[in-house]
């Protein structure tokens, strides 16, 4: 049955890829402008990354990338239509042209980038598999987990990463298999396992929902690479550039200290890079086919990367994620955007 299923899926995907390649002649940028709104593939709901709030407005750091692109293209961050996608349909929805971009905690991997006909334009969140334990265990490093029982979702890459990690460090563990995230939460809080492992962002989001979040600690070791970022269809480099530099503008904005609050003052700054970014020195928008104030619109309406991070998943939110890897390169992280010139 799995064989048939995978055969079917690969058939669908191959078909999708070939047709998407065959059919990609219209420029996405023109299409988006003509339509008057950006179609953005979002999650069906992941706290802090992309979910509708009580008023039905989409929020999250993935959603902010969509808003940034809309701000760049239309000068109005609200001109986005969100298409909720599940992990099963997200790539085909993009290939069929139903959405213009996908911003939905999707890991950038070789096969997705090359084989599926996608183009990942950057990373807006560096994730990785982590471990969470109860503080009362007194464990401060994943190296001290020898012999622990671990709650793990079956059939995931996390399961394999876990086995690799323990084997590589000569430790043993007892696995407590669970099916879903919520089942894992229940098992872990009921004490059926000592350790809960999944993507670190997922651990933080889970912890935020526990009755006493401060009683649990996410260990510093990250045992896999999960770079999450926005993707577009392969073969339309102009559009990929727009999405890539919309994300970069948010990161460079943080680097240069431009926030949504001070963006107007910064227009009179003496730093030439700031002036280039905000369109005071003309010419950079035209290269992308955008107006010169495109990055100004992003920073004034959406804010810089740090603002987006702090607002949706930062330490002051229930999700409470530290910047860590996602800090700027000069603050000890690996977030790095090419220079704006």
């Amino acid at each position: 049955m799995t064989k048939i299923k995978s055969l079917f899926i690969s058939l669908v995907l191959t078909l999708g890829v070939s047709i998407a390649i065959a059919g990609s002649h219209g420029s996405t940028h023109d299409l988006v402008k003509e339509r008057g709104k950006l179609m953005c593939g979002s999650n069906t709901g992941l706290a802090g990354f992309g979910a509708p709030n009580d008023a039905g407005v989409w929020e999250g750091i993935d959603v902010d990338v969509c808003r940034a692109v809309a701000a760049a293209v239309f000068g109005d961050a609200s001109k986005v239509e969100y298409v909720p996608t599940t992990s099963k349909v997200r790539f085909t929805v993009l290939q069929s042209g139903e959405i213009d971009m996908l911003s939905r905690n999707t890991t950038w991997t070789l096969s997705r980038d090359v084989d599926l006909g996608l183009e990942f334009v950057g990373v807006n969140y560096y994730d990785g598999q982590g471990f969470m334990v109860n503080k009362s265990l007194g464990v401060s490093s994943a190296m001290e987990l020898d012999g622990a029982s671990v709650c793990i979702q079956v059939g995931t890459t996390t399961e394999m990463n876990l086995a690799d990690f323990f084997k590589a460090n000569g430790m043993s563990y007892e696995s407590v298999p669970v099916e879903t995230n919520s089942e894992a939460d229940a098992a872990y809080t009921a004490g059926r396992c000592d350790v809960y492992t999944t993507d670190a962002s997922g651990l933080y989001a889970s912890r935020a929902g526990y009755p006493d979040p401060s009683a649990h600690v996410v260990l510093p070791e990250i045992v896999s690479k999960e770079p999450l970022g926005p993707a577009v269809r392969h073969g339309d480099s102009e559009w990929a550039d727009i999405v890539r530099w919309s994300l970069n503008a948010m990161i460079i904005g943080e680097e240069l200290g431009i926030t949504s609050a001070n963006v107007d003052e910064m227009k009179s700054s003496k730093n030439p890079e700031v002036l280039r970014l905000l369109g005071v020195d003309a010419g950079y928008g035209a290269m992308l086919g955008l107006s010169d104030d495109w990055a100004y619109n992003i920073l004034s309406q959406v804010g810089n990367y740090s603002e987006s991070f702090e607002k949706h998943i930062g330490p002051n939110t229930p999700i409470n994620i530290q910047r860590g890897l996602n800090a700027l390169y000069k603050d000890g992280g690996i977030l790095y955007a090419p220079p704006f010139r």
């Binding site: 079917f8 669908v12 078909l15 999708g16 047709i19 998407a20 059919g23 002649h25 219209g26 299409l31 999650n43 069906t44 709901g45 992941l46 706290a47 802090g48 979910a51 509708p52 709030n53 009580d54 039905g56 239509e81 969100y82 298409v83 909720p84 996608t85 599940t86 099963k88 349909v89 085909t92 929805v93 290939q95 069929s96 042209g97 139903e98 919520s182 939460d185 989001a205 935020a208 929902g209 526990y210 009755p211 939110t317 229930p318 999700i319």
Partner: protein, 370 residues
């Protein structure tokens, strides 16, 4: 007979029933007591959780609950039950999805008119039934215009529809469209014309051989790929096509069961009176066959109504999908029980309604003396 005698008789009637059914032997007595204790325990636990110890809009300190941190059970763990504030806060989304709230009156109007549209086909002894039937046929166009928009009304794309609206839309429209289709399929499958017959057999067997989720997936993912660039049929429409085809195949088999139960003599008698095929079918065969097929038809309808929640997998926010989205909002995350209990209750109301209606119909149409 004086009233006291009646009382005694009726009291002894209950007493006899109790003895006969619950306390006939000591084993049964013990089982009854255990069952009663069990029911009491579970029932009181649930009622305490869901009603007596629960928060509705305000917590025990009288504050309006605006996020899960305000729930009494999160302020004093272990002391309080459900926190229904999430349902109140998200009520509009549960009812209309992401439909613009200033336009929600359009959905409300359609919700209000829906019973009027179906009452004519559900019951035959109502006054002015003919006008209700007319309305039934106008209603789909009216509903489309009101919900989607058009001249005079702003357009609300179906990607904004959600919650109960999508569930009802798929359920009602799917069942409504599938019913005539399934009758044709059932008749076609019993037809003597080989091409029609084989087409119907292939269609029914193919659709029945594939899970609904695969059909939805195919409709959602493959359809746009085969169509020319820029032609993207609506997501909801694609789901509706899949749901309708699926339902018609299943219902066709239920109806075929009814057709096969009609004695051959009925058809022969009609033919000997000179009735044509369609006259025979319409006046003699179908009324009897459909009557027999009521329980399995309703069965598939209930099944379909619940299956609509599978559209979550193709990114449509039906009632279940909107509930999961609510749980993904960090304002409300982890109130699983409240959301799922609420959704089950809504599904239960509709499915139980359908089931009771089928019982009523069976009783009404019962003509034999057995």
């Amino acid at each position: 007979m004086s009233s006291t005698t009646i009382e005694i008789i009726s009291r002894s009637k209950y007493y006899n029933w109790l003895v006969k059914n619950l306390f006939s032997s000591w084993v049964n007595t013990i089982l009854t007591v255990i069952a009663l204790i069990f029911v009491y325990q579970v029932g009181s636990f649930f009622l305490n959780w869901a009603i007596f110890d629960a928060d509705f809009r305000y917590n025990f300190q009288g504050e309006l609950i605006i996020d899960r941190g305000f729930c009494s059970k999160n302020i004093m763990p272990g002391e309080y039950g459900a926190c229904w504030a999430i349902i109140f806060a998200r009520w509009n989304q549960f009812m209309y999805g992401l439909y613009p709230i200033e336009e929600a009156w359009r959905v409300n109007l359609i919700y209000a008119l829906l019973p009027l549209a179906i009452i004519g086909i559900l019951f035959d002894k109502i006054p002015f039934r003919r006008y209700f039937i007319y309305f039934t046929f106008i209603f789909p166009f009216l509903a489309y215009f009101m919900l989607y928009g058009g001249p005079g009304l702003s357009v609300v794309g179906t990607n904004k529809w959600g919650g109960l609206l999508v569930t009802l839309f798929l359920g009602v429209t799917g069942i409504g469209l599938a019913f005539p289709l399934s009758i044709l399929l059932a008749l076609g499958r019993r037809s003597k014309m080989p091409i029609i017959k084989s087409l119907c057999v292939v269609f029914i067997e193919f659709i029945r051989g594939v899970p609904l989720i695969t059909l939805l997936f195919t409709a959602n993912v493959m359809l746009p790929l085969f169509l020319p660039d820029g032609v993207n049929p609506d997501n909801l429409l694609r789901a509706l096509v899949a749901v309708t085809l699926f339902q018609s195949a299943y219902m066709a088999e239920a109806i075929r069961g009814g057709l096969q139960a009609i004695p051959r003599g009925q058809v022969e008698a009609a033919q000997s009176l000179g009735l044509s095929y369609w006259q025979t079918t319409r006046k003699i065969v179908l009324p009897q066959a459909l009557k027999i097929a009521i329980p399995p038809i309703v069965n598939t309808c209930i099944g379909l109504f619940k299956d609509t929640s599978l559209v979550l997998i193709i990114g449509l926010f039906d009632l279940l999908g909107i509930g999961r989205a609510a749980l993904a909002d960090m304002t409300w995350t982890k109130l699983y029980y409240e959301v799922y209990v609420f959704i089950s209750l809504v599904f239960f109301i509709f499915c139980f309604g359908m089931s009771r209606y089928s019982l009523y119909l069976e009783k009404k149409l019962k003509t034999d003396n057995s």
